[in-house]
């Protein structure tokens, strides 16, 4: 029974993290009594559990997530939405307009292919297809703004502890920012300068997500951007 790395060390797939019996957390697997990493990330030894905080990972859909997706196709009674997951998501009529499907509905008039939606992931069906809903405050078709993409595993860093990072960026830039858990960020500002601050800041956070003391550094970075 031994920890083979220091806490927060950078590990790669296949690296042996622990020998002996322990629970396996995120991004790890057990083989021949050893716990190994499956992704590049920082190792985290907790109480009786070993996990890896992934630095690179594609979006793993979880019920309750807020996502920003693009409508890519329309079926008879539902829209198909690309949310950068391993399978496309469904948005059915009752989840979009709060009314049952009727034959005289014209789906492209409500949402068309190419539209961007802010949606909540309400279910994952038995074929592992994510089910979306756009009923609720702040949800629905995105009318304005643009999208930035970052690695979904770095979204928690962008939000910060209890939203400290995103609230700071909101305050400093004056833009409206909607962060999808799937790595798409919808930004809408009053002018170009405001939006450019957000683009630069998000880019910096993605590059430096694995370093500590980030919120303070970002605050100084925004100041320097504003002075320019």
């Amino acid at each position: 029974m031994s920890e083979l790395f220091e806490n927060r060390d950078l590990v790669l797939p296949g690296d042996v993290l622990f020998e002996g019996s322990i629970r396996t957390g995120d991004n790890t697997y057990r083989s021949q009594g050893r716990v190994c990493a499956t992704r590049i990330g920082l190792v985290d030894y907790g109480r009786g559990i070993v996990s890896v905080i992934a630095l690179e990972a594609r979006y793993n859909p979880l019920v309750g997530d807020l996502v920003v997706g693009g409508v890519i196709d329309i079926d008879l009674d539902r829209w198909i939405v690309d949310i950068d997951a391993s399978s496309d998501a469904f948005l059915s009529v009752p989840d979009a307009i709060d009314a049952p499907f009727t034959q005289d509905l014209v789906l492209p008039d409500i949402l068309d292919v190419g539209d961007t939606v802010v949606a909540k992931l309400v279910d994952i069906d038995r074929r592992r297809t994510p089910i979306l809903s756009i009923l609720g405050r702040g949800l629905g078709k995105a009318e304005d703004g643009f999208i930035i993409r970052i690695t979904p595993s770095k979204i928690p860093r962008l939000i910060g502890k209890k939203g400290s990072m995103v609230n700071m960026i909101l305050k400093e830039s004056g833009c409206s920012i909607i962060i999808g858990q799937n790595g798409r960020i919808l930004v809408h500002g009053k002018n170009r300068e405001q939006e450019e601050i957000v683009v630069n800041v998000v880019d910096k956070i993605e590059r430096e997500a694995h370093t500590s003391g980030l919120t303070n550094r970002i605050q100084e970075y925004i100041k320097s951007l504003k002075e320019r």
Binding site: D9, S31, C36, I40
Partner: protein, 244 residues
């Protein structure tokens, strides 16, 4: 006595020792539009690899209900060899794509993403022998960069026989004029061989020597792959992360 002295001073056409790799360098995350990517220079080989997925499989009937499907495309650019090569995918391209798939499949947790596909695109910009090994090396780095869960990295290297001598990592000239060539892919932490091909003639003893030497070469390449992946995140000792 005379013979052993001759063996000591024996060098290959490019000045390498019998157990020496070509200069190798790998860079990860070179393509912003791909989920993961890598660029490798192994001797005069130059290969760029992009990885996409796991994502929805198209066409849908190729999806498997219990697992993801790994698809590998190997392609040589028309300007990668002299004389110019037709850009159309050849029988050889298809085969090497399959070889890459079989070498990488054992390392990936495909069963975690049913009905989806993971795609690897390797484009050979310049070829100088051993492109399948170099493609596998770069693909592994690109797969990790894409955040695809893996059991281990896959390192790959060829060994062979020239002038009745066992040598490591053969270049194009040695490949064509040598007596045998054995590409090997190896998972260093799990100690598993995932690819073993051979062309030419070897005795059973020589084959064993070749495989042993090839695995040694893979271990050296494994270290280069690790460095390439770590380089993107700078000095690891200073890292820490506060969670949400």
């Amino acid at each position: 006595m005379k013979l052993s002295k001759k063996k000591e001073s024996w060098k290959r056409t490019d000045g390498r020792d019998w157990n020496e790799l070509r200069p190798i360098s790998i860079e990860s995350g070179v393509l912003p539009n791909a989920d993961g990517s890598a660029y490798i220079e192994m001797g005069r080989n130059k290969i760029i690899v992009g990885v996409f997925g796991p994502r929805e499989m198209h066409p849908k009937h190729l999806a498997k209900p219990h697992t993801a499907v790994l698809r590998c495309r190997y392609h040589m650019a028309p300007f990668s060899v002299d004389p110019r090569r037709s850009p159309a995918p050849s029988r050889r391209d298809t085969e090497i794509g399959m070889v890459m798939r079989l070498a990488l499949e054992p390392a990936i947790f495909l069963e975690r993403y049913p009905r989806s596909s993971i795609e690897v695109f390797a484009e050979v910009l310049q070829a100088d022998g051993g492109t399948r090994c170099a493609s596998i090396n770069a693909s592994t780095v690109a797969l990790v960069d894409a955040g695809i869960p893996m059991r281990d990295l896959v390192a790959s290297c060829a060994s062979g026989k020239i002038d009745d001598r066992i040598v490591l990592d053969m270049g194009d000239y040695e490949d064509k004029n040598g007596q045998a060539d054995i590409p090997i892919a190896y998972m260093p932490k799990l100690e598993r061989v995932t690819l073993l091909q051979m062309d030419g003639v070897l005795s059973p003893v020589e084959l064993e020597q070749c495989v042993g030497l090839g695995v040694e070469g893979c271990m050296k390449i494994y270290e280069v792959q690790r460095e390439a992946l770590k380089k993107k995140y700078g000095d690891e000792s200073k890292q820490s992360q506060e969670e949400e």
